[in-house]
């Protein structure tokens, strides 16, 4: 496969899995520039590691590992502000606007709660919300399944409490 072909396959794979990258960047980046920097860094790391991808693991598992490793161990100082929302990223018909606004508000509440978690808890929450099995979580994070179960129970409790607080406007 020529370099050009390899690049095209890679780009289509990244675009097919863009929602994973979008969510990780939104979760770990405090501001829009932070998210863009993180997205760029993840794509570069993915591309660098791509020749080593043999296909023995699922592409998404491989992608999660690289994206989370890049996001978690990033040394850069981030601007510490609350999660922001860029309305330009939406192009939604007017009649759906109210529905989308409600949903977006809930999503904002969810992100506000996630933002109060630790970096490790964020990774676990992301995989939980993505409906990953404990087996897959173990493959990505390297934490034993028993330990994952204990941690997940704690995080779920925390999230439940925090989203409830957010819904009632308690911070």
């Amino acid at each position: 496969m020529s370099n050009q072909d390899r690049q095209e396959v890679f780009i289509s794979l990244v675009n097919a899995n863009r929602s994973i990258l979008y969510k990780i960047c939104r979760m770990y980046g405090a501001t829009e520039p932070d998210r863009q920097d993180l997205f760029q860094e993840i794509v570069i790391q993915l591309w660098r590691s791509y020749p080593g991808f043999r296909g023995d693991a699922r592409f998404s598992t491989w992608l999660y590992r690289i994206a989370l490793n890049t996001a978690i161990s990033d040394l850069r100082k981030q601007r510490r502000v609350g999660p922001s929302f860029d309305p330009d990223q939406l192009s939604i018909p007017m009649q759906d606007m109210q529905y989308v606004n409600d949903k977006e508000e809930q999503l904002q509440q969810l992100y506000a709660a996630i933002d109060r978690l630790t970096e490790v808890e964020k990774a676990l929450t992301m995989l939980y919300l993505e409906d990953k099995s404990y087996q897959e979580m173990e493959e990505i994070l390297g934490i034993s399944q028993n330990n994952l179960r204990v941690k997940m129970n704690r995080i779920k409790e925390k999230l439940r409490k925090m989203t409830k607080e957010a819904a009632y406007g308690i911070r």
Binding site: R18, I44, L68, L107, L110, L141, T163
Partner: protein, 202 residues
């Protein structure tokens, strides 16, 4: 908001993820990493290049000029340069080891903590030794030049006195390097350590 709803809300944002322009992605692939380790490696290469640019002409100059009478200085400088070559190589190896993005998150973190600790130790000791070696080399060179010119060597230039001066200086330098390394990497290693502990605890 109940937890069951969270997954639904989470999944609905899939439609929000903008399609990235393939041309923009192709452009991104040509970019250099701006990650901390990539930047540290780039800085290291610049440092190494600066050393070569300054040392090689000096070594050649002392070999060629003064009818070769000061060629010993070239040898001393060459020894220092060799030391630096090992220093840069070792540092670069440690930086490469520091990141394994395709590994499991936990093992990547553990590897980073281990490599970063080694890196800091190496940074402290080599940083101290390089300056001490350079000072010893400089003293030897001056003594050699004085002997060549049959100049009297004062008591304060005798090895026991120099040793008495260099020893506390070495300790001071070691502590200064420790403080600087902790200022540079202390918070980061603490953060990595805390994440690792969090991953391991039940």
């Amino acid at each position: 908001m109940e937890l069951d709803n969270l997954k639904t809300i989470w999944k609905e944002q899939e439609t929000l993820a903008p399609v990235t322009d393939p041309e923009h992605l192709a452009w991104l692939l040509q970019m250099k990493s701006r990650g901390p380790i990539a930047r540290m490696r780039r800085n290291l290469r610049v440092e190494a290049l600066l050393m070569v640019i300054t040392y090689i002409p000096t070594i050649i100059a002392y070999l060629v000029l003064f009818a070769g009478r000061l060629s010993l200085i070239s040898l001393f400088l060459f020894v220092v340069l060799c030391f630096y070559a090992v220093y840069f190589y070792r540092k670069d190896r440690l930086l490469i080891k520091m990141q394994c993005v395709t590994c499991e998150v936990r093992s990547n973190l553990a590897g980073q903590v281990k490599a970063l600790r080694k890196y800091i130790r190496f940074y402290i000791w080599s940083g101290t030794l390089v300056i001490l070696i350079a000072m010893v080399v400089a003293c030897c060179t001056i003594r050699y030049a004085m002997q060549l010119k049959s100049m009297p060597i004062h008591w304060w230039f005798e090895p026991p006195f120099l040793l008495a001066i260099l020893t506390p200086f070495a300790f001071g330098l070691l502590h200064l390097n420790k403080w600087y390394a902790s200022k540079l990497y202390g918070r980061h290693i603490e953060k990595l350590d805390a994440m690792l502990r969090e991953m391991d605890e039940d």
